[in-house]
């Protein structure tokens, strides 16, 4: 009964999560509203667009009951712009993620702490030029299930592959920053990239922590004795090279 999996979502689970993302569909036939566990679905009346979770949109698409409107960031022009940002403007960091759709106001609201896949970052009116958290899975799923709805599918597929390669190299290079411990930012990373990189990143981090455990314990002991000791004043000749 116990789950025989290590911590962290598997790629299949990430894809499952991605199917909760909202997308926009153009229905081809009427469908009444359904009272689902996650709330009622909108009634579908062609040709009015409606937001639906991806899993339901895929179901309708497969039965030719609707078409899916690809999100603006999945267009060729948008992807080319992002690729340029990834390679030329910020060659070491991930491109900026889309801004949070719910701005924070003075009155606390339930939407303040929402996170993907519940952010509606892939509907027809989502911003272009940014890769949302589930970009890779969503792009792949849409290209597979409804390549007839995506314009220039081959070009988009190539661009997604290029982006994936550029970003995988960045994911690997963050190990350089993991050496000293602390908090390392992965801002702009995608869900599938986290799932793929987790074993490696967390493995490196845990391994280095165990190697440096005695040094860290020693530092803490010294800091406690000497009040606010400065951790950086240590001799650096023990420094390990990561390359």
């Amino acid at each position: 009964m116990a789950l025989p999996l290590p911590p962290g979502l598997t790629p299949a689970e990430v894809a499952f999560l991605c199917e909760m993302e909202m997308v926009t569909v153009v229905p081809r036939q009427q469908l009444k509203s359904h009272d689902l566990l996650g709330g009622p679905t909108p009634a579908l009346r062609p040709p009015h667009r409606a937001p639906l979770p991806l899993w339901l949109a895929l179901l309708l698409k497969r039965q030719r009951r609707a078409n899916i409107v690809p999100p603006p960031w999945l267009l060729r022009s948008s992807l080319e712009r992002i690729l340029k940002e990834e390679t030329e403007i910020s060659p070491t960091a991930f491109s900026r993620p889309p801004p949070h759709p719910h701005a924070i106001s003075a009155i606390p609201s339930a939407t303040d702490h929402k996170s993907p896949p519940f952010l509606a970052s892939s509907t027809a009116d989502a911003p272009s030029g940014h890769l949302p958290y589930h970009w890779l899975e969503l792009g792949e799923i849409l290209l597979q299930a409804c390549s007839d709805d995506v314009s220039e599918p081959d070009k988009v597929r190539t661009l997604l592959r290029d982006l994936r390669e550029v970003r995988m190299a960045k994911m690997r290079s963050i190990t350089k920053h993991l050496e000293g411990g602390g908090v390392v930012s992965l801002e702009g990373v995608g869900a599938m990239e986290v799932a793929e990189g987790r074993q490696f990143v967390v493995g490196v981090m845990d391994g280095l922590r165990k190697l440096g455990a005695s040094r860290e314990a020693e530092r803490r002991r010294r800091e406690e004795e000497g009040g606010s000791g400065d951790g950086n004043s240590e001799d650096d000749d023990m420094e390990m090279e990561m390359e």
Binding site: L36, W55, G180
Partner: protein
């Protein structure tokens, strides 16, 4: 079940980090429940340590919802006609998705309880993380294990070596999860200071650092450094 629902109601009033925030008619909407359940599932799958059982009766409530929905499906299958056929597929697909979430969540917890049973039973604070059923499971699990050990080898040991929770020599026999292990977490924004991130004390080998994690930012950190924020709902694991 009746008597614990009162306790759950009580806990309800205190702030619930995982729970849904948008109540309309007294109970959270299905959408809010789905979000809370998804977050609880990802969090539970993301770290080696067992997280507190969701307050607010979340799991009990969603299990009930799934049951009702299945009954509805059974009713609909009775008066089968082509029109309702597709509706059935939609409803059933959704029910399966929810069932997967609940099952995977519970199984991830059982795995952690199995691994460090004695640890989670050792103090009242840790035991409070388990649901009633999980406590019963863990106790029984431990009992069976101990009996088995006793009959197969522990019984022939000297009396003073038969304990499974010895702490002699300053080393406890009870092993717990590695709280320092690395996790990947996302900032959700501070709950006390709207619009601000949370300040994480990142412990490192040569120096500790204070880092602000803003809303939506994903970071790699030690579980012990972000734990309090995850339990407060100001960060989530990914």
């Amino acid at each position: 079940m009746q008597d614990i629902s009162d306790i759950l109601e009580d806990l309800n009033r205190s702030h619930d980090p995982y729970g849904a925030d948008n109540y309309n008619d007294g109970r959270p909407s299905g959408e809010a429940d789905l979000q809370a359940l998804t977050r609880a599932w990802i969090n539970e799958r993301g770290t080696v340590e067992l997280l507190p059982w969701p307050k607010d009766g979340l799991i009990e409530r969603v299990t009930d919802c799934v049951k009702t929905q299945i009954e509805k499906v059974e009713e609909l299958t009775g008066n089968m006609e082509p029109k309702t056929n597709f509706s059935l597929i939609i409803i059933q697909t959704e029910v399966e998705r929810w069932k997967f979430l609940i099952r995977s969540f519970l199984r991830a917890r059982i795995e952690k309880i199995d691994k460090h049973t004695l640890h989670y039973l050792s103090t009242p604070e840790l035991q409070a993380r388990l649901s009633e059923m999980e406590v019963a499971y863990a106790t029984r699990h431990q009992q069976l294990l101990h009996q088995h050990y006793l009959s197969s080898f522990l019984g022939s040991f000297p009396q003073n070596l038969q304990n499974l929770n010895d702490t002699a020599g300053g080393i406890s026999m009870i092993s717990g999860p590695d709280e320092e292990s690395g996790v990947i977490a996302r900032g959700l924004g501070s709950k006390d200071f709207p619009g601000e991130g949370v300040i994480v004390q990142g412990s490192g080998r040569d120096a500790d650092s204070q880092v602000e994690v803003v809303r939506g930012e994903v970071v790699v950190a030690r579980w012990s450094d972000v734990k309090e924020f995850v339990e407060k709902g100001e960060m989530e694991l990914v």
